[in-house]
Each structure stands twice: as structure tokens, then as C-alpha cells.
Symmetry: C2
Subunit: 658 residues, 2 copies
């Protein structure tokens, strides 16, 4: 191809982006203009994809970790023939467009992950690389390798400054995830100004210390050098960072290389000057020269051929390995196997009971036998989270078939990686830590919710019931905070049987994340919890007579209200006991069901939960909760001191009944 076409193809990306930002009068022209050449190189010379089938499982993945440069990605998606029209480009950052300010998975075809909050793309790419490595190890056979995906990414100064990227880089280096090829848009500029203001570490040395393969490109417009570096990265067994020195807003004569090019429209004058500077026609805006379009659109035919070729090879593979082939197909299609939930354990009524983290471990073992796609791990709290199932085997560089992930004390990277693992396809991934440390991974939990990633978060030690570790480790406000996240379903099961159902809900939800809140301490296994009603979010565990009062609780406090109800009933009161494991699930029920559980005419209600009271007001006027920090002591003493006793619940209920 002529150099001229290449230069114009790159400029097309630059000016589609700059024109769209200008039309919206909002957005980030600097990244697309500076990183156009590297993106061009990835997308036209390396990325294996099929624009007409963005879900083709054989594809490579592209992650724009600096999601503010969304127009770079939208331009490439449009140019290479994805279902993203020029009108959508022109509607950049407008209501109901497919081109929001930052890329959103699930909204725009070809957007693999939701990015914008910095570091999230970096971390999700690491999860995707784990997925690809694990699936390749599990399914690929010599000469028949259906799983070949590389994970390409563009990462920015902002990404590298975020702690989640350090965690993820450390993990990727440890695991030697050679499928990762990240191009670092090293433009020396962030919003405050030069990176000299705050970001002066030796980045190459840092990534080398993490076990990465680091290359340096001095000229961000040198397509051949970038191309050669990508080829070297592919050949290297380590994860790769290609540090590409770029100029933010490249071409804009007065703003390039400065923070002025970062986060706002160039302005007509500067935009035109940039076009003149790079020999680009001022008009029309959104220009795509015919030969440039033709060149990019070769991706459509190439992608079609690639997928056909892949499918033919998959057919051959299936003939040679019929069972494995069928299994691979099932998993890539995201179908759960027949009877996956048939043998979930049930637990007999038992006053001693067990911690819900323990029953969770048992349920997990049952599920893992039926669901070979189930992989998971813990942020270095394996023996506490009960997240390790028998025979999982550790996923390590020398054991990529392992299904257990040692995330280290890196909750945030774990969260991001889980999202990547779940979005890659072929796997269902969970991760555990203490509920208090959900705080450390909150941004990743939100990304899961916003991007329809069915990550499963296993949060144990879910209240002051963890006892001696004390206030720093005792969640108070975490449940309220998680419950307020749209599309995240939080479930706090009351006992072992509710745990089994909670896992069933979590596995069934293939488009949204789920958070399980589990106890450290033993809780009784109750009568009436094995009925499958957990999926309704709240249900009548027992009516004692005709209810005058409703006692409701979640998790470890359900047994408490149950006992208090028995005492009230013994005194002749009518009491309803409602187990309320999930507000999110309950809010999804119809009005008739809600009314049946919580009839409006029963206004005497007491909600009991060992957590912040915030939000319970929706269901009960009286709330026994904890609106202060916890305490360090044996848990029974804390519960007693904080009023979580049968006697206190009984007394409060009596008071309300007056």
C-alpha cells in the first residue's frame, strides 16, 4: 500500500475523532490524535477480529484503557465495518447514541470492556489474558488451537498512575501472561499539565521489575517500528508493554503536546489549523476518503474469512475430540450444562449450624463438579473465604489449566480481572475477600454492574460478627453502599440453605454481577429456608398466628428474629418472620408478591441487621442496626453490647406493639 494511503488512513482516525469532539463540543481529541498511528497498526496489521460478528470467540481483544479517548475506538469500529454508523459518530456524546463519552460494553458493538475510570481497562485485560491462557491450556491440542487470542490494549499515563494497574501488572508478570500486549500512550501530559508535575518514575524499570517485556518506540507515528515491536511482543513469553512516545493532540499546531489538547474540543480555528498542518481538507467534516474507507473495510472480508477458517478448524477439532469440542462450544456459547443445579446440597435443620462462608465452600464444591467453567480465587484470604474447591489446582504459569486464582492482596485488580474473565467468554469467575475490602475494589464492582459483567463477588466476614479483628475490619456501611449500585444484586443469606440458593441465583445471572455477603461465625440452619424462596429476595419464613407485627432481617440476624418471634408468640402475639436476603431481588418482584410478604396494613415492623440502618426505612420504621463503628471482642460479646440479642429484639418488638 502507498505510504500516502497509510498516512491518510491514520489522519482519518485523527479527524473523525476531532470532528466528533468539535461537533459535540465535548470530549477528548488529544488521545485519538496522538495514538492514531499505534491504533492503526494494531487494527490493520495485527488484530484478528470480524467486524460483522463482534462476538466471534476466536477474536483477539482490544481494550482502550484510556476510555476518554473513546472516539479513537468509535472511529476504528466505524471504519472497519462494525455496526456503528457515521451518524452515531456524529451523535457522539448525545442522548441514546451508541457513542457515549466513554466506551460501554453491551451498548456498542465491538466494545469489549467498559473503560473510562482509569486502570479498569488495564485490569480487565489481565483477566481476559488469564481466560485466554486457561482456555487455551484446557482446549487447545497440538495442531488444533481454537483459542489463540491476544489481548491488545492502549494504556495511558493516567492508567499507569492508578494503583489498580500496579496490582494488575504485578499479577500479570507473576503469571507471565504473554498474551498481553499493551501499548503505552506515553505523551507526557495529563490534565494538570506535564507528567513532570507528579509522574516521574522510571516506568520501563517498573514494568521490568514486574516481569514484563518492555520495548520503547521513540516516534509514535513510526508504524513500522510499532509493528516490529508488536511482532516481538507476540513472540515473547512475557506480558508486553510497548512504551510509545506520542504527542497528545498531534497535528494541532498550538495545542499539541499540552494539556489543552486533552479534554476539550480544539475549537474550529485550531481544528482547521490542524487539518492544514497535516494536509487534510477542512471540509467536509467527518471526511472519510473513499480509498481509505475501502482499505479499512478490507477488515470485513478478512474477518469473514478468518471466522470461516476458524470454524472449519473447529469442526476438524470436534471430529478429533468430540467431547472436548462439544464442551468448548457449549462454553463459548455461554450455555450452562444440563442439570448444573440438580445436586446442590441441602442442609438439615440444625441449631448449631455453620458459618455461611463454610456452607458457601460446600456449595462451591458441588457447583465446581458440574461447572468446569467455574474458576475463582481470593485476594489472599483463601482459608477465610472458603473459596478453594477440591481439585481446583492453582492457575500458575506452569499450570495454566488450574482453576484457582491466587490474586494476592490485590482486591482491586481481582475485581477488574474478574470482569475481564467473565466477559471473555467460556468461564464463570468469582473472587473472594472480606466484605470490608469490597471498598478496595468498589470501582471494579461498579464497572461490572455498568457493563453487564456477571462477576460473582464472595464477601465473607460480613458484619461485626467477625469479632476480634475489630472496627477496621468490620463492615458497617458496605451493605448499604453495595445495595445502592444499580444492576448489582446483593444477597446476604440467612443460613446454609439460603447460601445454596444464593449461589444458584448468582450463577443464573449471566448478564449482571452478584455480591454474596457471608458470615464468619456459625449460624443455625433454620426450618423453612430450603424452599427456593430466596430468589424472591424476601419471603415469609414463618407466621406465628395472624401477624400484628413483622420482624424482618437478613443473614445472621434471621435466627435472632426467629427466636424473638417464638417468644412473642408464646405471649400470644401474632408475628410474621420475614427472611430478607436481598433488597435487589425483592424489588424485582411484582406488587402483588411484595404486598403478600409485607402487607401495607401491617405497619408495626422491625428490621434487624448488624449493619448501617440506611435504606431499611423503605421497609420498616423501626430498625435495629449499627450506625457507628464496630468493636474488637469475641463476637458474641459485640452482638450483646450492640443489642443483637433475642431479648433486645423481643423487648423492641414489645415496645412497638404497645
Amino acid at each position: 500500500m502507498p505510504d500516502d494511503l497509510q498516512a491518510r488512513a491514520i489522519n482519518t482516525i485523527r479527524f473523525l475523532a476531532a470532528d466528533a469532539v468539535q461537533k459535540a463540543n465535548s470530549g477528548h481529541p488529544g488521545l485519538p490524535m496522538g495514538a492514531a498511528a499505534m491504533a492503526y497498526t494494531v487494527w490493520t496489521r495485527h488484530l484478528r477480529h470480524n467486524p460483522r460478528n463482534p462476538k466471534w470467540p476466536g477474536r483477539d481483544r482490544f481494550v482502550l484503557s484510556g476510555g476518554h479517548g473513546s472516539m479513537l475506538l468509535y472511529s476504528l469500529l466505524h471504519l472497519t465495518g462494525y455496526d456503528l454508523s457515521l451518524d452515531e459518530i456524529k451523535n457522539f456524546r448525545q442522548f441514546d447514541s451508541k457513542t457515549p463519552g466513554h466506551p460501554e460494553h453491551g451498548l456498542t458493538p465491538g466494545v469489549e470492556v467498559t473503560t473510562g475510570p482509569l486502570g479498569q481497562g488495564f485490569g480487565q485485560g489481565v483477566g481476559m489474558a488469564i481466560a485466554a491462557t486457561h482456555l487455551a491450556a484446557t482446549f487447545n491440542k497440538p495442531g488444533h488451537e481454537p483459542i489463540q487470542s491476544f489481548i491488545y490494549g492502549i494504556v495511558t499515563d493516567g492508567d499507569l498512575m492508578e494503583g489498580v494497574s500496579s496490582e494488575a501488572a504485578s499479577l500479570a508478570g507473576h503469571l507471565q501472561l504473554g498474551r498481553i500486549i499493551y501499548l503505552y500512550d506515553d505523551n507526557h501530559v495529563s490534565i494538570d499539565g506535564s507528567t513532570d508535575l507528579a509522574f516521574t518514575e522510571d516506568r520501563a524499570a517498573r514494568f521490568e521489575a514486574d516481569g514484563w517485556h518492555v520495548q520503547k518506540i521513540e516516534d509514535g507515528n513510526d508504524v513500522e517500528a510499532i509493528d516490529a515491536a508488536i511482532r516481538a511482543a507476540k513472540a515473547d513469553p512475557r506480558p508486553s508493554l510497548i512504551d510509545v512516545r506520542t504527542i497528545i493532540g498531534y497535528g494541532a499546531p498550538h495545542k499539541q503536546g499540552t494539556s489543552k489538547a486533552h479534554g476539550e474540543a480544539l475549537g474550529d480555528e485550531e481544528l482547521n489549523a490542524a487539518k492544514e498542518n497535516l494536509g487534510w481538507p477542512l471540509e467536509p467534516r467527518f471526511l472519510i476518503p473513499g480509498d481509505v474507507m475501502e482499505f479499512y473495510r478490507e477488515a470485513v472480508e478478512k474477518g469473514r474469512e478468518r471466522e470461516i477458517d476458524w470454524k472449519m478448524k473447529l469442526d476438524a477439532y470436534k471430529r478429533l475430540h468430540p467431547a472436548l469440542g462439544a464442551e468448548l462450544e457449549r462454553r463459548l456459547n455461554g450455555q450452562l450444562p444440563e442439570g448444573w443445579d440438580a445436586d446442590l446440597p441441602t442442609f438439615p435443620v440444625d441449631a448449631k449450624g455453620m458459618a455461611t462462608r463454610s456452607s458457601s465452600g460446600k456449595v462451591l464444591n458441588a457447583l465446581a463438579l458440574k461447572l468446569p467453567e467455574l474458576v475463582g480465587g481470593s485476594a489472599d484470604l483463601t482459608p477465610s473465604n472458603n473459596t478453594l474447591f477440591d481439585q481446583a489446582g492453582d492457575f500458575q504459569k506452569d499450570n495454566p489449566m488450574g482453576r484457582y486464582l491466587r490474586f494476592g492482596v490485590r482486591e482491586h485488580a481481582m475485581g477488574a480481572a474478574l470482569n475481564g474473565l467473565n466477559l471473555f467468554g467460556g468461564l464463570i469467575a468469582y473472587g473472594g475477600t472480606f466484605l470490608i475490602f469490597s471498598d478496595y475494589m468498589k470501582p471494579a464492582i461498579r464497572i461490572a454492574a455498568i457493563s453487564q459483567a456477571p462477576s460473582i463477588f464472595v464477601f465473607t466476614h460480613d458484619s461485626v460478627g467477625l469479632g476480634e479483628d475489630g472496627p477496621t475490619h468490620e463492615p458497617i456501611e458496605q451493605l448499604a453502599g453495595l445495595r445502592a449500585i444499580p444492576h448489582l444484586t446483593v444477597i446476604r443469606p440467612a443460613d446454609a440453605n439460603e447460601v445454596a440458593q444464593a449461589w444458584k441465583v448468582a450463577i443464573s445471572r449471566r448478564n449482571e454481577p452478584t455480591a454474596l455477603a457471608l458470615t464468619r461465625q456459625n449460624v443455625p440452619t433454620l426450618e423453612g429456608t430450603a424452599n427456593g424462596m430466596l430468589s424472591k429476595g424476601a419471603y415469609v419464613l414463618k407466621d406465628f398466628g395472624t401477624p400484628e407485627i413483622i420482624l424482618m432481617a437478613s443473614g445472621s440476624e434471621v435466627s435472632l428474629i426467629f427466636e424473638a418471634a417464638q417468644k412473642l408468640a408464646a405471649e400470644g402475639h401474632g408475628v410474621r418472620v420475614v427472611s430478607f436476603p436481598s433488597w435487589d431481588l425483592f424489588e424485582g418482584q411484582d406488587e402483588a408478591y411484595k404486598e403478600a410478604v409485607l402487607p401495607k396494613n401491617i405497619t408495626v415492623r422491625l428490621a434487624v441487621e448488624a449493619a448501617a440502618t440506611l435504606g431499611w426505612d423503605r421497609y420498616a420504621k423501626a430498625i435495629l442496626g449499627i450506625d457507628h463503628f464496630g468493636a474488637s471482642a469475641p463476637y458474641k460479646i459485640i452482638f450483646e453490647k450492640f443489642g443483637f440479642t433475642v431479648e433486645n429484639v423481643f423487648a423492641k418488638a414489645k415496645e412497638l406493639l404497645k
Copy 2:
């Protein structure tokens, strides 16, 4: 001193810790036993402190970042003569003791920062080093140097795996904070097992890449080597990491060097075996040999002398530099200057108004003139957060007198550093980012709340009103999550005048953190907001006639309900308009005030806030909120589509009035 005494002094730490954990049957013996020698070296040879005055401003600071090793710190506090009795040691992890599972600042004399959630101590120490460096640059004069503090820390594998530590290390290296001397308890073990499972990076190279001075000690019991390394660290202008190879649970013959020594009592048998192994009497438990006690307690006299000497030098300093000396004394005493709030700007009623982030910038400028102790910064969103005041000057290695902190895109380290800055003394520190990115720093916000650190968090872009950046950047659940944190006061001011009062509240609260939620978009300056009532949390902005309905709102939605109220009043309805900037402040009022603002007999109420509805149920049955993710579009369109219009509020109120 005889070697024997030294060895026994170190073993005293080990077995006080192990005995306390054994008695509690809960806790972490491994760290204290492994790190006893390095802690001994710091505390007996280097740490400048006065056990009888833990608040002596001239002291060095000691940060136990691995807070799970709390018994190490409690042992040292007791041994060196702080107000922490042996009974408290024996009451380790018991209710109402001063020896909770993890160290808590404000509870236990001598505990400088709250730690336990990993990485928080590391980050707070960086903030303390910034504070010491800035204060030294501002006040020290040749020959008269009242500010000399070093920040010693013990950091662990877990700390180093957390992203917040990477951020903080990068920042510390950039700023060349030579006062930091962190000893890394490199014991090769975490909860899951060997660090080989997940943590194999070249840590020395990583810190060197960050610009740190790194030394390696091969034997964690080699006091002389550790001592020499600390001396070298003090002499080096860079922040120092001393990588000390230790053996977790040192001495315990069957558990040392394994994760079994980490997080549970050794058991009587192993504890006794450890004592035999190290030549320690099995009984009594909690043994402190007389000569050991005598040796450690030299710290009392030494500390007394040090403080006297420091005070004498300070007196000399004050004679030479009376104004500066008085100022230093005022600031170290934590007294606000007379009239600090006298000239806060007030803003005239103005329909166009301004964004509350802008009025915040103006207020900040006024405050900064009166409060030289006010320092702050932004996580690389300075022009968006309006956090830079005139003539602040950047705090940089070559300009340590600068009052503006370029935190980089490191929200989490910023949060932790703010806590350290505010706890050091002599400074009031704030930091800005978008409200959405409060998620990235949540653990640090919680640490502020739990440890009485008066950090001020400036969160701009506080709703879908930020517009085009879209769902990834639009807070929905953040307000609810923050409001649920005990001791954190969240304020979302309605206009410029409420902003001024919100800052006044934030500055006044010297024992608890405050979070300000500020708009990106313009909001009108309203009639009636300049009356100082913001400090009540909620107040009657205006009554139209005798109220039949209460409209309440916070922040940018107050002007909306105000206009809707006018329309309702025009139709003859009695309407109360309540500005509700802070639930936390309102809940602190007495019942009479609450009843006066929200009389129980006015049950027709509508709450309006462009955020998750969770929690508003406490004040109103009907809520106009946003329980889904946002949208990318010009903000007026988003508000319209989501129902945040005068017409819709009016219609909803009419519906309720039926």
C-alpha cells in the same frame, strides 16, 4: 549494654505479643515475632519520642502499616512507658480495651495512625512525610530546626501488594520524601501461603524505579545491620525502603516461616516450644524481666529530656523569630487563627449563578489567605475541581514550601496521604477529585472517619449534571454510600452561599472528616441560603403559606423544588421548601429542631435528588431520584429525560397532594 539484655529485650516483645494472642486466642503472632528485632532497633536506637507526651510535636512518627501485627506496637508502647498498662495487653482484643485487633488512632496513646486495611499505613506515612517536609521548609531556620521528624514504618508483603502503596511509593519517590524510612518485613509468607504463589516481582527494582533508596538486610535479627541501614537511610535524600529478610513467627519451631504463624494463636504447646527454643521461661506469661523493663523505660527519661531540649530550642527560636514562632505554636496546637472565617465571601442572589465547584474555588481562596495551614491538591483534576488557590505554589522537591499538592491520578494515595497530613499536626489538608472517584479512595475515607482524621474531601461533578462524560463518570450510589459511613459528614450545598458555609463546617470539624459534593454545572444563587443555617443540615428555605406539602432537596436540585414550589403556591397550595444539604448534620440536631423543619403532621413530602434514592425514605415517602446508571449527553437533556424538571416536580407534587 550486654548482648544478652538486647536478645532478651527483643524476645520480650516476641512473647508479650505471642502470650497476648494466646490469651485472646485470636490475633497475629507471626509479625511481632518476626519483626521484633527491627522494631527494637527503631524504637531503642532511632525513634525520637516522649512516651509521657505522645503528642509532643517534635517527635518522629512510627507507622505499623501491617496493623495486624498490633501486638508488636502495643508491646513497645507498654515497654517504653506509654499510658498502656500490662492489663491492657492482657485484655488484647477484648471489648472496651485499648488494645483492639488493629491499632486505632485516637483510642490508644502512641498510635499515630489507624492501620489494618493494608497499604493505609504506607500511604498515611507519605502524607506525614509531606507534612514534615513542608513544615520544616516553612518554619526551620539555620541552626533552629523545630521540625525534624522522620517517619518510620514497618510495611509488609500485603502492604506492598496493595495498589495504594504503589501509588504512594510513586508519589513519595517523585517528591523525594527523604524523611520516610520504611522497613519491609520481607517474610515470604502471606495468608494463602508462600509469596511465591502470587508475589514474585523484584521489589527492590520496583522501588528503585520509583526513585527510592533501597537497602537489603539478609538477617532480620541482625540489629547492627538494621541500625546501620537506618543510619544510611537518614543520610540519604531519597525515601528509603529497607528490605529486611525475616522469618514469620520466629522461634516457633513448627510454625515459623509458614502461614500457620500468621493469623492465629500458636497454641500452648507451640508457644511453650518457642519459648524453650529461644531460652525463655515458660512461666509466667507476659514476662517482662526487670532489667529489660528498666532498659526500655529509659525512653521515658530520654523522651522527657528530648522534649525539654526541643522546647528550649523552640523558645530560642521564638525569640529570634517571634512572629513565625507564635504562628508555629498556634498551628502545632491546632488552634484556628482569630477571625479565620470573618471574610468568607457571600454571594448575591443570582438566577444564573455559578457551579458550586466554582464558588468552592472562590471560598477556598478566601480561606487560604486566612489559614496558612491550609494545603491541598487534586488527583490530576485541578482545573475541574477548582482546588488550586492563588499563590499556593506547587509542593515539589525543589519547592517544599508550596501549598498545592499534585497527587497525580492516584486518588487512593491522595486519600491516605490526606489522613497523614491532617494527623501530623500543623496543617489542614484537602484533596479533590470527581465524586465518582471517591470509589477509588473509599478505604482511605473510611480510615479518616474511624481515626478522627479531619480530612476534607472535595468531590466535584456530583451528579448526572456532569453531562457528556456519561455513565462511567456519573455518580449514582456514591452519596448514599458516603452518607452511610459513621463520623463522615457529607455536605451537598445548594448554591454559592451554602458552599461558603460548608467549607466553614469542614474547617471547624477538627476531629472528623468532611466530604463536599459540588456541581460541575451552574446553579442559581438563591434567596435565603446565606443565613448560616447549612450547619443544621436541613432548614426551611421558604414557606409558601401554611405548608400542606414539604419539598426537600440537596445541591443542584434545590433550585428545582424552589421553582416548583412557586408554581404550586401560584395555584394556592401551601408549600414548604427545605434545603437539605447534609443528613449527617441534620441527624445531629435535637428533636425539637428536626420537628420544626419536618413536622410529623406534614406527611405529604417529596424528596428530590439526582442520585440513588436509597436512604431518603427516612424523610419522605415519595422520592424523585435515579436508581439506574446515567447517560452521556448535555446535562440539561439528561435532567429532562430523567424527570428533573420544574414541570415534573410540580406534577409529582400535585399527584401527592391529591
